[in-house]
Structure formats: structure tokens, C-alpha cells
């Protein structure tokens, strides 16, 4: 039986068929759907959203040492967070298979950087699999779990946005049973890397890499497709698909088990092709290795290393390689004057009230990763920096300690606070900072599509659980000035924020209101503008609400879009906005 599956769905299916019993992760585009899909295989697979990727990998590491087959899911920057356990788990090795499924985002569709996860395979000295479509995504999870167990090593399965979010037909199979009973065999020399034993592990890791390279030579995931031998192309992942369309006549060495490099296969392929071209997305990792083997090749000289590849990009690369002019241009419907359509905070979004209130304060705002990053856009324009998860809190301390003139406000979401905001808050209290930290608590992980977290009272398995209070955590961290505000009450919010900012001690303001997209009912009655009363001052447009429309002679509110949050009514200086149909 075949089904049309996305790459992410296929990874989850692959884990199920390969007998995985534990799956952990933290949401992050483009990886999120892997774990959501895996959760559909409960109770066969235990699934959890961990507070962050480091915890997710450590949970899976424990399960794998007990013999369970595990997958861990995250986006590329999530692996930075999980890199600490990964580096040493490589030394400890595993009993049950453990595959870290990481989704890169070439082109930065929904990410703050374009890092290439393949570097981590080399850094951690662990094998790497790179599927090129959904069928391979499913098959490679099973193959990676097998390699993980045979060689006692964690494995990285690297996807990209276009593999994760493209759908193609996948032949489904049966679930294999876990080949062993779950149990822990005490063996400190294997599981405790104190230097005495760690040095032994260190040697074993190098020796394992050699055996893995031999396995990569023989793996069916790596194959040579001989066609015309004038040009031979070495490629992997989604780039393989583009290569087949753009160079249908060329011979191809397709790598699926791509690290450690199968040098014998590479040499054999290079010997059989007159010219060699490396087509890889992002960094020139493969190309540099091929050159280190003493093989001449084209690569970065014709294929760009910044941004994602596509058939269109490779058609231009082909023209460069052949010294021909770029292919003819297509229809042009945009002479450059079409209005852009940036994502915006939704109508009724509770974050809007906070940003509006912050607009009245002379402060530096250190932001964080989540929907509230959209507060950077005009007219709200109230986010000054974004670095990574948790930095909204910690960087505020840095600005203050550098001695800036303004007071500093740190912004972070609820899921992000649990992910890595708490340690930053501890730092502010411990090291005598006075920044005001605002947790935009909308009771969900909104940006990635509403996943549960330690504050929501529900697990990924759908069970009720403890709902942790951010205010209580703040108090436990030593913050004495903790406030909860309703961000739809602008006057109170502005007063509380002003006090928190002026205070000479750390302040935690928790803005509590559920995500407008997640709630079933409107916040309040839809609003309308009285055309007679409106003086067209534009004050309400400063909220950046998509439901408000500048109509030339005043403002109109879309009945369809308005969620009745009432912020526009509160900011209107002449009382021209009221509930629709109100007297």
C-alpha cells in the first residue's frame, strides 16, 4: 500500500515500522510534524515534547542505554542546544538505536540562520543519513536505527525544508518488533566517561569511524547511476532531485549514507567520469572532502552556497558550467512595486497590547524566538534584538551591565521561557540586574502550530498533567516583583510595565491571555468605527492590526477579521470605536 506522505510524516512512519518505542523533541519549523505524527502511533511509541532539545536528547539517551529504539526531533538550531549531550553520547554509544532527526532550513524560510547540520556529524564523529524524498525518509530511519545499533553510535538523519515539507508516495510496511527486552546492564567503564575510561572511548570512536566508512561504501543508500560519462555529479538530499531534472543525461553518485565519506565509491565514480561536479546545498563540505582526495572538481565555482537550491538555481549553474548565457527569463508579473505581504500578529493577538504599551517607553527591548518576533515590524517596531531561544532574557542583563542609558526590557514567550529563559532569569537575580522581563504567556507554542509545553497542563500523549506557573517559577528564582497582567487591559498593562521598568530590582511581568488563533471564541464583541466621530488621526493604525483598514477618509474595521480584543477602542482618543451595533 502506498500513501502520499510528507518527509516528516515519513520519518515518523519509518520510526514506527522500525520498532521505535521512544520519541522526543522540541517543536521547530521545519521539523515539528515528525513528532506530531509519531504521537499518532501511541501507545506503541511513547512521545514527549521536552522543554528543550538538550533535554529531549538526554531523555532519548537514557532510553537508548536501556535498549529502547529512539528518535529525537528538532530543527537545525535545536541541535546547537542538544550538541552538548550529542558530543559525549558519541563516546558512550548506545544499546538501542538512537537517531537524531534534524531538519535544516536552507533559504531561511522560518529560521534565524542557515547553518548546515552536516558539520555536526563530523564534529561528533557520528554517521549521517540524508534522505532525498519521503520514501527515503521512511527507509533511512530504519537503516539509521540499524546502523546505530550495529555500531553502537547515535546517528544523525538530516532533512531539509524541501524534504520535510514535500509530499510523495511512500510504500508502507509492517512494524518490526524491538529485537530485545528493555533492561539496563550496569557497566560504568562504558557509560561513565571519566578520563580513565573516556580516553578508551575516544580511541574506540576513531576506530568506529573507520568501520562506519566501510559500511558506507557498501550501503545501498549510496549508489552510482551511470549515464553519460562526460559529466559525473556527486550529490545528496533534495539537491539530487534537482540534479536529475537539470542534468538528466549526467551520471550521478547519490549519497544517502553520506558521512563518514565513502572514499572508495567517490574515487571509483571520479575515475569513470570525464568531469566531476559537486552539487550540495549550503556549505562545501563534500566538495572540500573530494578535493582533499586529490580529485579535481567543479562545485562552489558554479553552484551557490548561500540560500536554497532549486531547479531554477541549478539551470543557471548549468549555464555557468557550460559557459553559456543564463536561460531566458520567465513571465514577469512583479515590476518591483507590488506591496509585500509580511507575516503579522493576528487580529486579536494578545502580544499586540504589550508591544503597543512598550511603544510608549524609552527602553531597549531584547526579543526572542516566537510569534512575538513579529513585533519588530512597523508600526509596532518594538523589538530591538533577536539572537536565539532564551537570549531575550540574558541579553537584557548584558545591555544593562554594559551601562546603556536606557532601561532594558527582555521579552520571551511561555514555551521559550521553559526552553531556556529560566537560567537567564536566575542570572539577573543572582548578578543583581534590574531588567524587566516580560513573558508573553499565550498558553501554547504558537509559532510552530500550537504544541503543548510544561505550562499547558497537557502532554503530547494527550494526558492531563501539572501546569507549571511562570509567576511561581519567577518567585522561586528569587524575583520579588512579579506581576500578572491582562494584555487586553491597556491602561493596567501600561502602568504595570512602567513600574516594572522603573524598579531598581528585577521584575517579571507575565502577560497572560490565550493565543487568538487557538481560542475558539472571540475575545469580545467585534468593533466598528463611527464614521461621524472618526477624526482620521491614525492612532488605532499604530496597533498594526490586520482588521483595521485605512480607508482614505477614516478607518474601517473588517467584521470578518475582528476578534473583538478592544485595543483599538482603548487607543482611540475621540471615542469613535465601539462594539458593533452598540447604541
Amino acid at each position: 500500500m502506498s500513501e502520499l506522505l510528507s518527509g516528516n510524516q515519513a520519518v515518523a512512519r519509518g520510526a514506527y515500522e522500525a520498532g521505535a518505542t521512544v520519541a522526543t523533541g522540541y517543536p521547530g519549523t521545519p521539523s515539528t510534524e515528525i513528532l506530531e505524527e509519531a504521537a499518532r502511533f501511541k501507545p506503541e511509541i511513547y512521545c514527549e515534547w521536552s522543554p528543550n532539545e538538550k533535554v529531549a536528547l538526554e531523555v532519548a539517551a537514557g532510553a537508548a542505554l536501556a535498549g529502547a529504539r529512539c528518535i529525537v526531533t528538532m530543527k537545525h538550531v535545536g541541535l546547537n542546544v542538544a550538541s552538548d549531550p550529542l558530543m559525549t553520547l558519541s563516546y558512550l554509544g548506545v544499546e538501542g538505536g538512537l537517531v537524531v532527526c534534524v531538519a535544516d532550513d536552507p533559504g531561511m524560510h522560518s529560521s534565524q540562520n542557515e547553518q548546515d547540520t552536516r558539520h555536526y556529524a563530523r564534529l561528533a564523529k557520528v554517521p549521517l543519513f540524508e534522505p532525498a524524498d519521503s520514501q527515503e525518509a521512511k527507509d533511512f530511519v530504519g537503516a539509521a536505527l540499524d546502523v546505530s545499533e550495529s555500531f553502537r553510535t547515535p546517528v544523525i538523519l538530516r532533512s531539509t525544508t524541501r524534504v520535510s515539507h514535500s509530499r510523495s508516495l511512500v510504500a508502507l510496511g509492517e512494524r518490526r518488533a524491538l529485537p530485545r527486552a528493555v533492561a539496563f546492564q550496569k557497566n560504568p567503564a562504558r557509560y561513565v566517561p571519566i578520563p580513565l575510561w573516556g580516553r578508551v572511548m575516544r580511541t574506540e570512536v576513531e576506530e568506529r569511524l573507520g568501520r562506519l566508512a566501510e559500511a558506507a561504501e557498501r550501503s545501498p543508500a549510496n549508489r552510482i547511476e551511470w549515464r553519460d560519462r562526460e559529466l559525473g555529479i556527486i550529490t545528496a538530499s533534495i539537491a539530487y532531485q534537482y540534479v536529475r531534472e537539470v542534468w538528466p543525461e549526467a551520471s550521478v553518485l547519490k549519497l544517502g549514507f553520506s558521512y563518514p565519506f565513502p572514499d572508495g565509491l567517490i574515487r571509483q565514480f571520479a575515475a569513470g567520469a570525464r568531469r566531476l561536479l559537486i552539487v550540495e546545498e549550503l556549505d562545501a563540505i563534500l566538495e572540500e572532502h573530494v578535493r582533499s582526495l586529490g580529485l579535481a572538481c567543479h562545485g562552489r565555482d558554479v553552484v551557490p552556497g548561500v540560500g536554497e537550491l532549486s531547479p531554477t538555481v541549478l539551470l543557471a549553474a548549468r549555464a555557468r558550467l557550460e559557459g553559456k548565457p543564463a536561460p531566458r527569463t520567465a513571465l514577469r508579473g512583479d515590476p518591483g512595486d507590488l506591496p509585500v505581504r509580511p507575516p503579522v500578529l493576528c487580529p486579536g493577538c494578545p502580544h499586540r497590547g504589550i508591544f503597543y504599551a512598550l511603544g510608549r517607553q524609552d527602553v531597549i527591548v531584547t526579543g526572542d524566538i516566537g510569534c512575538y518576533s513579529l513585533g519588530v515590524f512597523k508600526p509596532l517596531d518594538r523589538v530591538d534584538t533577536i539572537l536565539c531561544m532564551g537570549a531575550g532574557v540574558s541579553m537584557a542583563q548584558g545591555f544593562e551591565k554594559a551601562g546603556v542609558r536606557q532601561k532594558v526590557v527582555g521579552i520571551i514567550g511561555d514555551s521559550t521561557f521553559f526552553h531556556s529563559g529560566i537560567t537567564g532569569l536566575l542570572d539577573i537575580v543572582y548578578n543583581k540586574g534590574t531588567a524587566a522581563i516580560i513573558v508573553m504567556d499565550n498558553r501554547t507554542t504558537a509559532m510552530t502550530g500550537h504544541q503543548d509545553h510544561p505550562g499547558t497542563g497537557r502532554t503530547l500523549m494527550g494526558e492531563p498533567t501539572a501546569a507549571l506557573s511562570i509567576a511561581e517559577i519567577g518567585r522561586a528564582c528569587g524575583v520579588r516583583r512579579v506581576h500578572e497582567v491582562n494584555p487586553y487591559d491597556l491602561e493596567t498593562t501600561q502602568r504595570v510595565l512602567a513600574e516594572a521598568i522603573q524598579a531598581n530590582e528585577p521584575a517579571l511581568v507575565v502577560s497572560v491571555a490565550p493565543c487568538a488563533l487557538a481560542r475558539r471564541t472571540p475575545v469580545g464583541p467585534a468593533r466598528e468605527v463611527s464614521a461621524e466621530a472618526c477624526v482620521d488621526c491614525g492612532q488605532c493604525l499604530g496597533l498594526g492590526c490586520p482588521a483595521l483598514e485605512a480607508a482614505g477618509d477614516g478607518v474601517r474595521i473588517s467584521e470578518l477579521l475582528c476578534r473583538g480584543c478592544g485595543l483599538c477602542e482603548q487607543v482611540c482618543p475621540v471615542g469613535a470605536i465601539a462594539a458593533r451595533g452598540a447604541p
Binding site: S110, G333, G544
Partner: protein
């Protein structure tokens, strides 16, 4: 070379218009007709007012899920400037199906950018083959404004070589049972509307 190039379809619009469902129905129809299929859509910010684009490719053998510029047989858009924005995907002789809908970007509604006043003229200038229809109005007449996506789907089906019965089967298998008739009506309205628009 006896290689048959895949057929490419691009659907565009803004979040919440049902672009992904429409692309799923195209994929299903192609599968039912016995083809290999690949699709891609850009996720992420779609629900937050951003542009949405979905691509479907089918044929005896399909490698890339992404459409090359200038090669799509059909470009369908539920929003007018999104059609212009994605015109580069369409083959010069390809069919553009554009609904007369206007979704104002936040930049426009806030008065900081201008929606082109001459959008119809631009569409007619840009596309050699254009079906320009009021999908929203047609959907309302079918019973619900929510099936405008399926009206557009019906219109774009006239630009593809898949048999009519596979389309009906595909629509039926992709929507909930209780909305089946509504969606089939919408599909037919779009398909017939396109035929009459093309001959006018």
C-alpha cells in the same frame, strides 16, 4: 530522449484560503490517473497573513518537488497580486486562473503601501492565457464562501489533461462527507465557468 516532462501546477494565495487543500486534491487526482506525484508547500507563517504557495508535479517520473521558473502548465491564484507575484513560474503558453479577490497586505491596510489600482490590466498584460473569475461570488452561489478554493480548482482543471471522473473522485476523497456535494458543486461551477470564460 523519450523522457516525458512532468506537468507542473502552482497554486498561490494567502493563509486561510485553502490553498493546501486544493493542492492535495490536484495530487490525489493525478494519483488516481496513475501518475507519480510530488507536492511542496511553504509552511510556517501562513496563518499570520503571509503569502502561501503550493506546487504539484505529476508524470510518469517526477524528481523535483519544486517547479522551475517558466514551466508550470497552470498557475491558479485566489488573490490577484499573488498571481502577479508568482507569474515567473508559469510557462509563457500556460494557463493562469485568477480569482477577483483582493486580500490587503497589512502594509496596505495600515496605509503604508498601495494596492495597485490597475491590477486587472496588469493581469491581462502579464498572462497570455487568463481565466479571470469571481470565485468568491461563485462559491457563495454554490452555498458557502469557503469553497472558493474548489471553484478555482474546477477552473484550473480545464488546463490539465486529467479525466473528469478522477477529479470528482479526488474532490470526494479529500473533503469531509457532509461537505462533499457542496464541493462537487463548487468544482463544477469553476470548471463550467472556465469553459465559458475561455470561449468568450
Amino acid at each position: 530522449m523519450s523522457r516525458v516532462a512532468p506537468v507542473s501546477v502552482v497554486l498561490a494565495g494567502v493563509g486561510g484560503q485553502g490553498i493546501v487543500l486544493a493542492s492535495t486534491i490536484v495530487a490525489r487526482a493525478a494519483i488516481l490517473a496513475g501518475f507519480q506525484v510530488k507536492t511542496n508547500e511553504v509552511h510556517g507563517m501562513a496563518q499570520r497573513g503571509g503569502s502561501v504557495i503550493a506546487q504539484v508535479r505529476y508524470g510518469p517520473e517526477v524528481h523535483s518537488p519544486l517547479v522551475s521558473e517558466g514551466t508550470a502548465c497552470v498557475l491558479a491564484s485566489l488573490e490577484q497580486i499573488e498571481a502577479l507575484r508568482n507569474a515567473n513560474y508559469l510557462a509563457p503558453e500556460g494557463l493562469a486562473v485568477v480569482s477577483r479577490q483582493r486580500a490587503l497586505p497589512a502594509t496596505v491596510s495600515a496605509g503604508r503601501a498601495v494596492y495597485p489600482a490597475d491590477v486587472e490590466a496588469r493581469l491581462r498584460r502579464t498572462f497570455n492565457r487568463l481565466i479571470y473569475l469571481d470565485a468568491e461570488g461563485m462559491a457563495v452561489r454554490c452555498g458557502s464562501v469557503r469553497v472558493a478554493n474548489v471553484v478555482v480548482l474546477g477552473a484550473l482543471s480545464t488546463g490539465l489533461d486529467l479525466p473528469a471522473d478522477t477529479w470528482h473522485a479526488a474532490v470526494s476523497s479529500c473533503v469531509p462527507e457532509k461537505y462533499r456535494e457542496l464541493n462537487i458543486r463548487a468544482f463544477q461551477a469553476g470548471r463550467e465557468g472556465a469553459t465559458s470564460a475561455a470561449s468568450s
